[in-house]
């Protein structure tokens, strides 16, 4: 296990997953507390598997619409607040991925991690805000081009939209990688200085990110089928535990895909070599 975590990419994936789990927990916990109060001693608690029945949803929306609206606002506020926390730790995780043991900036302890994270926190916040613009643009372009190709097939439409989303996500990763590797938190500098590097290795970046995304999608799809099979079974404690394990594996798979892409993109931009696996610690 410890050997497993010595791999920078795997450790980063676990940390990303942990961060996502905390985010999920923080955002849904206010409503979960209330739902626990109203459902725990009720028969409705027996109808929450595999998903809450429409009658439960109806009863909730009709009788607790004020609570629902209040929760939506609360969740939005928590999401924004957690954005700052996530930006802080994401910086550290990026550096964990890209700095190898021989690098002077290598993160060797929790203290290093926190110090390193705080150095580029503000830059990651800037990229996070810039992401709204980038994702807005790629969704628009994806929809336009997807709409055109969608006339031939729905599958093609989905692929085109996904391709644009990968492009947007990759660009944002490259900006973060630049900040993490240079400690320069200027968004303007990141935008200008990465331009040449991207154009130089655009095709390799594109193909590499698509390859990782396709493999990750395939893995996620297989796990989804397993999850679907589990959810199609009657509820039991064992089924519940297996479901939780598969759900967390799903998240870990996505995070692993993200970490691999970060490492790959850094390899292409900074090192000029494709070392996506993050070292040979796995032996």
């Amino acid at each position: 296990m410890m050997k497993f975590l010595k791999n920078r990419v795997l450790l980063a994936s676990v940390l990303f997953g942990l961060l996502d789990f905390i985010q999920g927990f923080v955002i849904v916990s206010p409503i979960l507390i209330y739902l626990r109060i109203i459902y725990e001693n009720s028969e409705s608690s027996l109808h929450l598997w595999p998903l809450p029945s429409l009658d439960i949803f109806s009863d909730f929306m009709i009788n607790h619409d004020d609570l629902f609206i209040f929760y939506i606002i609360t969740a939005a506020v928590l999401y924004i607040l957690f954005f700052f926390v996530k930006s802080l730790f994401a910086g550290g995780i990026y550096r964990l991925i890209i700095f190898e043991r021989q690098n002077p900036s290598f993160i060797g302890s929790a203290k290093d991690f926190l110090r390193s994270s705080s150095e580029i926190w503000i830059g990651f916040i800037k990229v996070g805000l810039f992401a709204v613009l980038v994702y807005g643009l790629v969704i628009f372009l994806g929809t336009v081009f997807g709409g055109f190709f969608g006339r031939f097939s729905d599958f093609l439409r989905t692929v085109i939209i996904a391709l644009f989303l990968i492009l947007g996500s990759t660009y944002l990763q490259i900006l973060r990688i630049h900040m993490a590797s240079t400690s320069d938190t200027s968004l303007r500098a990141a935008l200008t200085e990465t331009r040449g590097k991207i154009s130089g290795g655009f095709l390799r970046i594109l193909m590499g990110n698509i390859s990782v995304s396709v493999v990750a999608f395939a893995a996620v799809f297989i796990l989804w089928l397993i999850l679907k099979a589990l959810k199609s079974a009657d509820w039991s404690v064992i089924i519940m535990i297996l479901t939780i394990v598969v759900q967390q594996l799903l998240v870990f798979t996505v995070c692993l895909g993200q970490s691999l892409r970060i490492n790959f993109n850094y390899s292409v931009i900074k090192r000029g070599e494709e070392n996506a696996l993050g070292g040979d610690e796995l032996g």
């Binding site: 990303f16 997953g17 961060l19 996502d20 789990f21 985010q23 999920g24 927990f25 955002i27 849904v28 409503i31 979960l32 739902l35 626990r36 109203i38 459902y39 725990e40 001693n41 009720s42 028969e43 409705s44 608690s45 027996l46 929450l48 598997w49 595999p50 998903l51 809450p52 029945s53 429409l54 009658d55 439960i56 949803f57 109806s58 009863d59 909730f60 929306m61 009709i62 009788n63 996530k86 994401a90 679907k228 959810k231 199609s232 079974a233 009657d234 509820w235 404690v237 519940m240 479901t243 939780i244 759900q247 967390q248 799903l250 998240v251 996505v254 995070c255 993200q258």
Partner: protein
């Protein structure tokens, strides 16, 4: 399809025996021009005064005029139709050469008021006296508007467009304008219609339809219908004809080529629905039943002896089940509308409410009431969706309003299709399934081929049940009462005297509350750890009631009887309380909830 369609009249060999129960006999002759989408022709109708008073005028419906221009009541009430009319998709009916008893009526002798034609009579028409009216008409058919028109395939739905007599109900002339929410009312009549269609057209209609003759480009069809409240037809070239038989009834199907794979499912559900309604009410009274696919999407329309249903265009379980439910609903209308001909203008809940409750019974009986979504065991029904839709309106309007008294279509549908259905379910639960079924059968039998109203229904049901219907009607049919019962708490203590007397070991106190004004009888169930259940009836009238049980085992839960399960109860989550919470179930759900956000967050990293 270009060309003109000749519709010729066949003079009845013998005039049907009209009477106040079936007061009209129609003979129709017309031309339908497929290129101009018009029907022109003549109509002769023999009419007997079905009332107990003298009549000075006779009134006809001119439904197509609702789409003549944007000043009509219909267009003022329906923005989408108004926009279509503004874009030039109009319909209208023009009447000329009106004759009474062979004598031509001058223009001053009649008047058109919106969607109604009133002809003044020189002499009052005495009760049970007969009069012959003839007229020529020209109908401009629109692209599918309201309940008639032609669709994108060029197929026609000819319904609610012929100039037929306004009906009478309990001596009262029902001559309302055609409203956006309203459907239909007319008296039972005889129809003899001979129609000449293009040679490649197929058709189904009300009554018995047969091809009489053919020329190079056209074919003549004749339809005869006895004791029906309207005449309607669906025809088109892009259709496949199927024929089947059920219990002596000829079943005819007209299905678009692109939907041909649906035929076996349609035939099966039609037969199942006819079987169910026949057993539940009375056998289907006509000798033909037709189904047509007429260009609607996910919608249906009831017509006498003919139903129309729309398609999603997919054969997946979800859409197939929706189609089956539509067919079941429209078939149920062959009883509650076509033969128990209530007034859809003024009391739309009477036919739609009953059609809905029967639709749900049919879908449950034949297994298409649930839709698997996402996971194979995640079964939800449109019963849940209908309940949500109806409850979301918060019972703002009584179900007994006239169809146009609802402020918008959503309120109308929520009340007439949703709340009315929940109220009839509540009534069924309150008086018991078997009593309700028996009472409904008696009501249906008594009012078959008549025009009952709410009063008749209540009176009939009161005779069949000891339940206080007056209070029920006041709260739920004429009123806007809401329902929410809850089990507030459950406590128990050991019965110290039990050891000496050998009686119950535990005394259990269950507190139940009524939160809203609606009152419905309840059964309180106490579930015990040894697997037994104890029951206690409660009339549901008190705001709060403590019910004491003596039990031999520790209580597990207290519940309002799940077998009753009032759909109208607005919070069924509070209907049961367990002594021990389902902690692991909740943890399972909580992990699911966290996972959804966690997964989304991981993608958006």
């Amino acid at each position: 399809m270009i060309g003109s369609i000749l519709i010729s009249i066949s003079i009845l060999a013998a005039v049907p025996d009209i009477s106040p129960r079936v007061p009209a006999a129609y003979e129709i002759k017309a031309y339908l021009n497929d290129s101009t989408h018009t029907i022109t022709g003549t109509m002769k109708v023999s009419f007997v005064n079905p009332t107990s008073r003298n009549l000075d005028t006779v009134a006809f419906h001119l439904y197509p005029n609702a789409f003549k221009d944007t000043s009509s009541v219909y267009c003022r009430e329906d923005g989408r139709v108004r926009a279509a009319v503004e874009r030039g998709n109009i319909a209208k009916v023009e009447i000329s050469n009106i004759m009474i008893g062979g004598r031509k009526i001058e223009e001053s002798g009649y008047g058109i008021d919106g969607t109604r034609l009133y002809i003044n009579l020189d002499q009052s028409l005495l009760p049970e006296s007969k009069i012959d009216v003839a007229m020529e008409f020209e109908i401009l058919i629109p692209r599918m508007l309201g309940h008639f028109g032609y669709d994108s395939d060029g197929d026609y739905l000819i319904a609610h467009c012929l100039p037929i007599l306004c009906g009478y109900q309990k001596d009262r002339l029902i001559d309302w304008e055609y409203h956006a929410n309203s459907e239909f009312f007319s008296n039972f009549s005889f129809y003899d219609v001979t129609i000449e269609l293009p040679e490649d057209f197929k058709a189904v209609s009300t009554g018995v339809l047969s091809k009489v003759s053919e020329t190079d480009s056209t074919a003549v069809w004749n339809a005869r219908a006895d004791t029906v409240i309207d005449f309607a037809m669906v025809c088109g070239a892009d259709m496949l004809e199927y024929e089947s038989e059920f219990g002596g009834v000829t079943l005819k199907y007209l299905i678009k080529e692109k939907h041909r794979d649906f035929y076996p499912a349609i035939d099966s559900v039609v037969k199942n629905s006819l079987q169910f309604c026949g057993d539940y009410l009375y056998p289907y009274p006509y000798n033909t039943f037709s189904f047509a696919d007429a260009g609607f999407t996910n919608a249906g329309l009831e017509l006498p002896g003919l139903i129309v249903a729309g398609f999603f265009g997919s054969d997946k379980a979800f859409s197939a089940n929706l189609l089956k439910k539509t067919i079941a609903h429209e078939t149920a209308h062959q009883w509650f509308y076509a033969t128990i001909a209530t007034n859809e203008f003024e009391e739309p809940w009477l036919d739609e409410g009953f059609a809905s409750i029967i639709e749900f019974k049919i879908s449950r009986e034949y297994g298409f009431d649930k839709f698997p979504l996402l996971f194979s065991n995640y079964l939800n029904s449109d019963r849940s969706m209908r309940r949500l839709f109806a409850l979301a309106e918060e019972a703002k309007y009584p179900i007994s309003l006239k169809s146009w008294d609802y402020p918008n279509r959503q309120s109308y549908i929520a009340a007439i299709y949703g709340r009315a259905w929940m109220i009839l379910l509540a009534l069924e639960n309150a008086i018991g399934d078997s009593t309700f079924a028996e009472a409904l059968k008696i009501f249906a039998g008594d009012y078959r081929f008549r025009h009952p109203d709410q009063e008749d229904f209540v009176k009939s049901l009161s005779n069949s049940s000891s339940y206080d219907l007056a209070e029920f009607v006041e709260m739920f049919i004429d009123g806007t009462s809401r329902v929410d019962y809850a089990v507030e708490s459950m406590e128990f203590e050991k019965n110290e005297t039990a050891g000496d007397s050998g009686g119950s070991e535990y005394i259990v106190y269950v507190d139940v509350v009524r939160k809203y004004d609606g009152i419905l009888p309840q059964v309180i169930v106490l579930g015990l750890e040894d697997g037994t259940e104890l029951y206690e009836n409660w009339d549901g009238k008190d705001r709060y009631k403590r019910i004491t049980f003596k039990a031999n085992s520790v209580p597990l839960y207290a519940s309002l009887d799940r077998k009753i399960s009032y759909a109208i109860d607005e919070n069924r989550n509070s209907n049961t309380i367990y002594r021990k919470g389902h902690v692991t179930r909740m943890i399972s759900f909580e992990w699911d909830a966290i996972f959804i956000i966690e997964f989304l967050a991981s993608i958006l990293l």
